[in-house]
Amino acid sequence: MSTEKSTKPVLQVKNLSVSFHTEDRSVQAVDNVSFEVNPGEVLGLVGESGSGKTVTGMSILRLVPSPPGRYDGGQILFDGMDILKLRPEELRTIRGSRISAIFQEPMTALSPLKTIGDQLKELLDLHRPEMNEKAKVAMVIEWLTKVGIPDAETRMHAFPFQYSGGMRQRVTIAMALMLEPELVIADEPTTALDVTLQAQVFELMMEMKSDKTSIIFITHDMGVVWELCNRVLVMKKAQLVEEGETESLFSAPRDAYTQKLLHAVPRLDDVPARSLPDFEAPILSARNLQTWFPVKKGIFARTVDHIKALDGVSFDLHPGETLGVVGESGSGKSTLGRTLIGLEKSTGGSFTYEGQSLQNLKHRDWRMVRRDMGMIFQDPYSSLNSRMKILTLLTEAPIVHGLLNKPDPDFAATCLEEVGLDADMMHRYPHEFSGGQRQRICIARILALKPKLIICDEAVSALDVTIQAQVLDLLLELRERHNLAYLFISHDLSVVKRICDNVLVMQQGKVVEQGSPTQVIDSPQHAYTQSLIQAVPSPGDLQRRRC
């Protein structure tokens, strides 16, 4: 917490404005933003997607693609130089060495064709030409060990695809910190990771960073800000709306938007939306359900082993009930949802829908079941066919199932209104909508079939907190109105606690704990559940501050 106010700031951003220009429109991405970064501090930059926080971060390294981007004005002062005015060769000596970056997607941030060791060494080749080869290799090994890559001497010769997502993000952290830069720009570095991995990465970043390294931490997660940042900047619609020390900003936010942002954060100590109602006979039941994926080897593709993605799962889901499924990635929670709706083939056990066995169902029979069962996917950007208008998308399923005989605009209007969208929107294409609106369209499309059960596979994980809260409210409202049952798959325990009536905790294809959300989350029995809960950032908890 002790940032030396006396020393001069590492970076000064003065009246920065950035805009994007395409043939038919211009967008102001950053509008007259000014701030400073002090030596050794962690500065949080928060805001919803589209607020300009990433563009601000990218501008500091002058990485905004131009065209279409354009720097309209302002200065970015670093060590007496204006980064916006540097010549390319001067810029290169700063990038990577004195200012570095960690990006969101660990899977694509490393070059797939070079070994991990070579990629780290390349940085030294470029920025530390005076070092000899031996010293470089030694330093690479030292840093890989530091970030927790076991057996670094051998593993440095491995390729990125041989590393897991968490390990890759560790490598990118090593790359960003190895040259001890004065400033690191971390753009949502853990958004793609599990909570448990996220906690490990935070710990690592705080441990690795030297006292003189400052970090700008770009995120939409207020819990993360609470854990890591000394100071916070809040951005909304390209402008800076609030700035302050983390603790005072959390306890007394001044700007209405900051208040809204803080309020929307789901918390583990939230109370469930309702108490457990009495349920009728189950609508969907699974008994000892298994989905194994064969591991094939050799030219005859003999099955040598199985990946037990789902290994003996049993549960009952009643009409109107919301069953949460939580776990890390790889725990089999997505496979469960996909198996229940027939996107994966189950290999053992049994599952029934309204008493009808779904095991080994033919394609034609699945189509009948799917009239009653819907599924919402994680990524609202790829779950709508971009070449169809909303009208066609909404009316196609009812036409296929014989509920409608033509693309009826009135029908589409009702669908849109039910999920809180404007009926006029039916003549547009999916790309004209925001993520939250698209997720609403996905929900409307499923509701058009009057389903009894919806499987939500990380349905709100890709959305901003404020949008997330709105979509969750919509789901709750629809649950009451249509007595819908949800299978709610999520890695976010706070969300699960808020909307679920029962929770399954999954690890390695098995259910390790089961019960009501208050039971499971407030007094977890299993060690795995406890570790999951501990990893969840919780704003306001002073013990969770890492800075």
Binding site: S383, M388, A397, R445
Partner: protein, 289 residues
Amino acid sequence: MKNRNLRSYSLGADAWRRLLRNRAAVSGLVLLILMVLACVAGPWFSAYTFEEMDLFSANEAPSAKHWFGTDELGRDLMTRTLVGGRISFAVALAATLVSLLIGVTYGGVSGYVGGRLDTLMMRIVDVLYALPFTLLVILLITVFERNLMLLFIAIGAVEWLTMARIVRGQVMGLRHQEFIEACQVLGYSQARILFRHLLPNVLGTVIIYVTLTIPSVMLLEAFLSFLGLGVQPPMSSWGSLIEDGRGAMEDFPWLMIFPGLALFVTLLALNFLGDGLRDALDPRRGGES
């Protein structure tokens, strides 16, 4: 802002309107229509026929009498170029149709269904690829009579193969995307998913590939004609005219320049049109509709 009371248009109608706003694509389309019209109707108004020899005016340079000049037998090159365009356009059309109808469907089914069917279908493609094309053509000529239809059969037999492979690859990449899985979960039939949802999304690649194939098909026709399968003298086509002109390039360059120019203009127009089509068919490009 968008006009909110807009009538609902299908993707086709939308695409057409977007195409019409693209200046390059419209000029490509107009140019192409003019070329086709000239080739179809031009020879009727010509003072010469494509086979009429006039040995006294052989190898004449372009003049008011013969706009494109004459060849070594004194035939009017402009008439021959226009008549040759008919064959070239017909060949291009046939190849496009075959690769669109057979290639796209075949590749789509193979990529979407996957598994054993995919393996079987792709091995068939491999076998057809491996057949020596020249041998196939010579076989066709010996077994059947010389016939223009044979030309189309020979070109058709090979032109869909690459398209099938490209479409298969694209479809395999798309079939696990969430919007396809969403369609499955909504209970759509496999055929509907393939033809209404998957294939429209590979159109961009398909169009690019078609515009790339057309010039090579036009030249392939020249090669086949040389082997004796395509058009026979005195008939002409752009490919054969260019081939003949190449031999006399040093002394009578116009023999190659004019048919070459016709081919060049057509391909340019096709490329503009192809690019415009690709953009028009993708609602994400070119701003609001």
